[in-house]
Symmetry: C2
Subunit: 324 residues, 2 copies
């Protein structure tokens, strides 16, 4: 009986390997076990793949399973993916992986089908199969973390685009000729509403105005989005203002997507929204102001319930999507 | 043999009724005849529908055809459409038509299937079946005229969205808190890059700077996008600058869509782009600057070849889309 799944989430810092089991009755998957490897930036992909092979075998052995009992391996990777060929076209965090055929290497080794998707797309599939995207035909999953990315499901199917780069919502322009983004462009949503951007907003104010009580103990260069969230909860004026400004820009970006695609749901994940105070309200108000009324009314905007493990569920969902 | 089609394009000013014939070998349609009615703003839709019925019968009679020989009637209408129920949900130019069941009325009268789509969506289908969208899985048709609208084809299928409003590209925000748009919002693409917006840009400059040689003979209120195009061809500095500025904003809006959807083609129609000088170049340059390099490389940006008759072809394509 092929009813076991291996999901692998390859990020810039960690490689998460998960073991899941199909529950036929509920059309679901039970998350059975997990192993976490360091993905050591700059390490040769061949070496990482060997470590993955060892870890998968350890997981299988620990649960007395054989590869013949696997229905597939699903891999989520940050970057532009050719999911037909199973290669990474472009990935800022995994430069050495570009063009490397790890899909072939793994499918030959384990003799099971291996499927690869971009990580935001995988998360959207995670929502489609296990989360708030269930039975929804038109929705997007947006992650607002150190960066901003999205996975789109339209007419019931994942949108990959011509070259596998669809969903680069973080690089929609929200302020022409605005702040520079790490992608090299200016005025990107990511440069205004990501965790990094929120940190930068505070740094800019501190440079101009000097430090308020909360920020006295920190070096300016240290400021992160997480610290800004903490400061805002303690009532720091600069932090609250920065979070609100970022929320408004996220609202502008989401409104453009609502006007363009008229989705029925937007599912938001990522660290920036973990604390809704000083963010959720201003964001929704801005969306209400900027979006087409009929489109706004037909769109539910919700926090993901898959939380931090959306990546695990995403890697399982990659397999389910191909099985169905 | 059911091989005849009636296409109807209901606009704010005219109703165009076209007769077409299927050419099986080429999977195409021959445009046989056409009738144009005034749609008289504010006229009761029942009256317009009666006029349409009379005109369709006249067309059929003139070509010695019977309704039994029709495979369908396709109707393109400006506004948000519920294409399942065949009703207009919202249409700024056809207020009295909202909620009116003209699809039922026509299908009962002629005893043939009647299909209704939003006009920009119909144009995208026109491109899919007869134009530059043939055999393309991911493309959009964008019309830049007095307003800006788009029709999207993703994974080979039209994107209607949850409430039928998908494609409202003209109301993506390109300049937060920017110029007011006739929709009530601020900073919409339509308020920066449409023909109307180009006219307004010139008006604003004339108000500030006074009139240059070209503009001496006109009242400021008279200035239209078309006049600005004419002036730009005569070398008028103000007109050239306005066209270039609009082109850059269109480039920003298109880049956001390229980053989000990674389409393989963008097909541009509408009056503003009929004269490419001082527009096409600045637009492409801005797109190159603002869009994700992999996505930009995989996307062809082209002028529609269906020209002014894209609406006719669109209304035929509505039927073909349902037949296939």
């Amino acid at each position: 009986m092929k009813k076991w799944l291996i999901g692998i989430d390859i990020g810039g810092t960690y490689i998460r390997i998960c073991l899941g089991k199909l529950i036929q009755k509920k059309h679901g998957v039970r998350h059975v076990d997990r192993k976490i490897l360091s993905s050591r930036k700059g390490q040769e992909p061949r070496r990482s793949i060997n470590e993955i092979k060892v870890s998968v075998n350890q997981l299988l052995k620990a649960h007395q399973l054989h590869t013949k009992m696997l229905c597939g391996i699903g891999i989520a990777v940050a970057g532009a993916i050719d999911s037909e060929k199973g290669i990474i076209l472009k990935s800022p965090n995994l430069k050495k992986w570009e063009g490397f055929g790890f899909q072939k290497s793994l499918s030959r080794f384990f003799q099971v089908p291996v499927y690869v998707e971009n990580d935001a797309n995988a998360s959207a599939l995670g929502e489609k199969h296990f989360g708030l995207g269930r039975k929804k035909k038109n929705f997007l999953y947006v992650t607002v973390s150190t960066g901003i990315g999205a996975g789109l499901v339209i007419n019931g199917a994942l949108v990959r685009g011509k070259a596998g780069t669809a969903g680069e919502m973080g690089h929609m322009t929200v302020q022409p000729n605005g702040y520079s983004c790490k992608c090299g462009k200016n005025g990107c949503l990511e440069a205004y509403a990501s965790g990094t951007a929120i940190g930068n907003l505070v740094k800019r104010v501190l440079r101009k105005e000097g430090r308020s009580r909360f920020w006295k103990k920190f070096q300016r260069a240290e400021v992160t989005g997480k610290m800004v969230t903490q400061a805002s909860l303690k009532g720091d004026r600069i932090a609250i203002k920065a979070r609100k400004e970022a929320a408004e820009y996220l609202g502008i970006g989401l409104s453009s997507v609502i006007n363009l695609l008229n989705p029925e749901r937007i599912i938001l994940g990522g660290g920036v929204l973990e604390v809704p105070q000083h963010f959720w309200g201003p964001m929704i108000n801005r969306i209400r102001k900027e979006s087409w009324p009929t489109a706004f009314k037909s769109c539910q905007i919700l926090r993901s319930k898959l939380g931090k493990h959306v990546g695990d569920w995403g890697s399982f969902a990659i397999i389910l999507e191909r099985l169905s």
